[in-house]
């Protein structure tokens, strides 16, 4: 597709459409933090200087993330820009909600970008997977077992671990290792092993009462299983199994039962159990189509506004139309990931790219669906945006895996060129020749 030396004139042009767009995105965040600085100053908060720092730092991070990384690594620019936009949006909203956490999220964003790059390079370079898969399988199970030994309970689920004064959520990191292992096993036709590994992981998650994450793992692995075997019977059986599991979970866990009841009618108990859902819906209604404006709403009344309910905060202050745009960005990321899956020639990479995309898509659907009361609320984070270092890093790592596969596919297709990243449309080049 791109064996060309005609790139020189384009590179000289400073304002390519992609750069214009990135410029606009950077301006958006620059103005956003500037606005927050002004607002915090009038409110008498000392954090306004931090907002000023972020007004420079976050656009710079976006610049490095979107335009800098492709210089080091032949990645997929579209995927990079979309994921970076969401991460920066998360930092902006979190800083507005809680400056301290906003600063921490900026750090996590930086770490995440580095982790993404490492993942991408790893998946670009590694050729012999078998020893790595065995290692990843062991890591997955050990990490998932950790919370049962060292765990702390948050919101009814025991899925946090604090090691050496550093808290993290193993189930977020295991997402990647488990998907890699399962997809490789499936591509090698070792279905029993794949199912066994998933079963053990799900069992460990159930023991931690982390049902939201268990649901995500299950849905993703089931999709991969179905895609690799093509068996509809398996798919239906898996869905029936999920329904059965949901029923057992409903009967076994009091907090699941309560969530379902509250989902059916949150207004009946709007001061207590239904408070979160009701306040989320009210926040969305307050925002309306165009939103109340950054800093002008009162999103803090929503419980977990920084984690599970951050989507309602977006709708509250930026408006429902913006919320829909955010959803479409997620969809674009998912579809881009799936197109990467369709381009590769190796079953393993195809399955892995599919699983990463499905994981991101499903997670977004589950939490946003819970926010708008389409489905019962399950406590998972909104990828890229919710507060939480582990979650942000793992989401970016999923993107990194996709980047690695994308780069590898391009290299396989065009082994010769030294810098094979460019994918400019052919018509453009023709235009240049005239």
């Amino acid at each position: 597709m791109s064996k060309q030396k005609k790139r020189q004139p384009d590179q000289k042009k400073l304002l390519t459409p992609a750069r214009q767009l990135i410029g606009l995105v950077m301006l958006f965040f620059f103005l956003g933090f500037l606005l927050l600085a002004a607002w915090m100053r009038t409110e008498g908060s000392g954090d306004w200087t931090k907002a000023l720092i972020l007004a420079g730092a976050v656009p710079a991070l976006v610049y490095v993330g979107v335009l800098g990384i492709p210089r080091l690594f032949p990645g997929d620019r579209l995927l990079l820009s979309l994921a970076n936009f969401l991460c920066a949006l998360g930092v902006l909203i979190l800083f507005r909600l809680n400056p301290y956490r906003g600063m921490r999220q900026t750090l996590a964003y930086f770490v995440g970008v580095v982790a993404m790059l490492l993942c991408a390079v790893f998946f670009r370079v590694i050729r012999k997977w078998k020893p790595w898969v065995i290692l990843l399988m062991i890591i997955s199970v050990v990490l998932l077992a950790l919370p049962l030994v060292y765990g702390t309970e948050i919101y009814g689920a025991q899925n946090w671990v604090t090691l050496f004064g550093f808290g993290f959520q193993p189930s977020e990191l295991v997402k990647i290792s488990l998907l890699v292992a399962v997809c490789w096993l499936l591509s090698e036709r070792k279905v029993i092993w794949a199912v066994g590994l998933t079963g053990v992981s799900l069992g460990l998650l159930m023991l931690q009462k982390d049902l939201g994450t268990a649901l995500l793992y299950y849905g993703t692995v089931l999709t991969a299983l179905w895609a690799s075997t093509g068996s509809t019977l398996l798919l239906l059986g898996g869905m029936a199994g999920a329904a059965g599991g949901a029923y057992v979970g409903y009967r076994m866990f009091a907090h699941v039962k309560k969530r379902v009841a509250v989902w059916q009618n949150p207004w009946a108990d709007r001061q207590d159990a239904g408070y979160q859902i009701v306040q989320g819906l009210i926040a969305i209604a307050n925002g309306g189509l165009w939103g109340l404006g950054l800093g002008l709403g009162n999103p803090k009344v929503i419980p977990a506004s920084e984690n599970d309910y951050i989507f309602t905060v977006i709708c509250h202050e930026f408006g429902v139309l913006f919320g829909i745009v955010v959803l479409l960005i997620y969809l674009a990321i998912v579809l881009r990931g799936i197109s990467i899956a369709r381009r590769t020639d190796s079953a393993f990479y195809a399955l892995l790219a599919l699983s990463c995309s499905v994981m991101l898509g499903l997670q977004t659907f589950v939490i946003v669906g819970g926010n708008i009361k389409l489905i019962p609320l399950t406590g998972v984070t909104l990828p890229f945006i919710s507060y939480g270092g582990t979650s942000l890093v793992s989401s970016l790592c999923l993107v990194g895996v996709l980047q690695g596969i994308s780069a590898r596919t391009q290299a396989d297709l065009h082994p010769a060129p030294r810098r094979p990243q460019s994918s400019r449309p052919a018509s453009r080049r023709k235009g240049g020749k005239k």
Partner: protein, 489 residues
């Protein structure tokens, strides 16, 4: 590998479908319930806004001020406001349930349900900018409602002056335009004066409760409008002649007797209407024939017709929050079905809903959506289109509606009609009385619902007086006074 690619593509479609569901459901939920979520008293944001924005004024259809605000500005530039109300106490009391009050004693009224207008949420950026240039303080939209202050004040005085009614009067009056759905009066008794700070303990009969929209009552014989419409569309019943023998036993058991109003076992009197068709039986409000008709057509047919008329429906009107009416779904023995046919059993509806049904009959079977809002004007003077009358749905076909109207005309102007007291000479008044029995209540609830079949004064009136007596003797005369007022303007 090829199969894998196809499956991957399928997965893409499924995921895209999931996101589409999210967006569509979100849009649907926000569009239908957004204003209800917003106006709930759990909305902390709305409460905080009330400190910074002066609510817009509320005017009646003729421009009479129903609610304004008195603003106190302090030295430091901050301000507080207090609601002021109409000058006439009767007008204040008559409209307090429709309007609500700034303290939120009455729920789901204009003050809360239309808060998005009153506190300027519907204003555009342009409105806000021009508002900033002309005013120091932010003010919400001024609302012109469809309510009629003069008429409601008249009704309030008429009810309070009528010494034959129980004290305090409990009930509701709804007046609406059956062509457009505009609501002129939405009154509940007993009422209270929002301008006076009366404590609840000094008031009796739950004055904060809006009986017109939230009260759930058995409609009694007024439900025969629905039963008649169903019977007219039933081949077995439409042209038949019936005989009323005074007592009807739907399941043969002596304990389950359907008798007519006025029958008393103690005095040994039995009221019977003899030979009669559906229309005449309607005008004299014969329970036996209508209970019989209900049993003959069966529960499913009657329920289907009731659902056409809006029973068991989740009412999502744009301007009014109304409790949903219900058609019972358990224990459908012949005895229960017979009772349902004459509006008893566990049938529940609000006076507003009965007025909507009556309006639909007047409007050739098309029910109009009830409206309260005529116009909203921003503080900068920009009018906002709020949408005019919209039809809600067709409840019955035009021919049936006209036949029901004939029956209702007979009930008011016929020689033995039960609603004669509502008649106004020179005008075509149609109506139906109801006397709903309630366990543990001495007298029946008196109902009258009717309309003026004349495009010069296209109004429908529904009156409910709790524990008053028969509909013909108590509710119909009040409706008559309202009709007279409506036709003499």
């Amino acid at each position: 590998m090829k199969q894998l690619r196809i499956n991957i593509r399928r997965a893409a479609f499924v995921l895209a479908g999931l996101f589409l569901v999210l967006i569509l459901y979100g849009g649907y939920a926000l569009g239908n319930y957004g204003s209800r979520w917003f106006s709930t008293n759990a909305n902390a944001y709305l409460r905080s806004v009330k400190n910074n924005v002066i609510p817009g004024d509320i005017l009646d259809r003729n421009g009479v001020l129903l609610a304004g605000s008195e603003v106190t500005v302090y030295q430091d530039g901050t301000f507080t406001w207090e609601r002021t109300y109409a000058e006439d106490e009767a007008v204040r009391r008559a409209n307090v349930h429709a309007l609500g009050d700034s303290q939120g004693k009455v729920s789901n009224a204009v003050e809360s349900f239309m808060a998005s207008y009153l506190y300027g949420f519907k204003q555009t950026v342009w409105d806000r900018l021009s508002g900033l240039m002309t005013h120091q303080m932010r003010k919400g939209d001024t609302l012109t409602l469809t309510l009629d202050a003069d008429l409601s004040g008249f009704i309030e005085r008429a009810v309070l002056a009528d010494k034959s009614l129980p004290d305090p009067v409990r009930g509701a009056v709804v007046v609406m335009n059956w062509q457009t759905g505009e609501v002129l009066c939405l009154m509940s008794f007993p009422s209270f004066d929002p301008a006076r700070d009366e404590s609840l303990t000094s008031l009796t009969g739950q004055p904060y409760f809006n009986r017109a929209t939230q009260g759930m009552y058995a409609p009694g014989s007024a439900f025969k409008i629905v039963t008649l419409s169903a019977a007219l569309r039933n081949a077995k019943l439409q042209n038949r002649s019936f005989t009323c023998g005074g007592v009807y036993l739907p399941d043969g058991s002596e304990a389950h007797r359907i008798v007519d109003y006025g029958t008393s076992t103690a005095e040994g009197t039995v009221v019977s209407h003899g030979q009669s068709d559906l229309l005449r039986a309607f005008s004299v409000s014969c329970n036996n024939i209508y209970a019989y008709a209900a049993v003959e057509m069966g529960d499913d047919a009657l329920r289907a017709e009731a659902m056409n008329f809006g029973f068991n429906e989740n009412f999502l009107f744009r301007d009014i929050v109304a409790e949903n009416s219900s058609y019972p779904d358990e224990d459908r023995s012949p005895w229960e079905v017979a009772l349902t046919g004459i509006g008893q059993s566990r049938l529940q509806m609000s006076p507003l809903h009965l007025c909507l049904i009556t309006s639909a009959i007047a409007n050739d079977g098309v029910m109009m959506e009830p409206r309260l809002l005529k116009q909203a004007v921003s503080s900068a003077g920009m009018p906002r289109l709020t949408g005019s009358g919209a039809s809600y749905r067709r409840v019955t076909d035009a021919d049936t509606a006209r036949t029901v109207r004939d029956a209702m005309l007979m009930a008011v102007s016929g020689s033995s009609g039960t609603g004669g007291a509502a008649a106004v000479s020179g005008w075509t008044i149609c109506g139906k009385t109801g006397s709903a029995e309630l366990d543990g209540q001495a007298n029946t609830n008196a109902w009258f619902t009717g309309f003026i079949a004349d495009a010069r004064a296209p109004y429908a009136v529904t009156v409910l007086l709790e524990d008053a007596g028969s509909g013909g003797a108590y509710a119909a005369p009040l409706a008559g006074k309202i009709f007279k007022r409506l036709t003499s303007r």
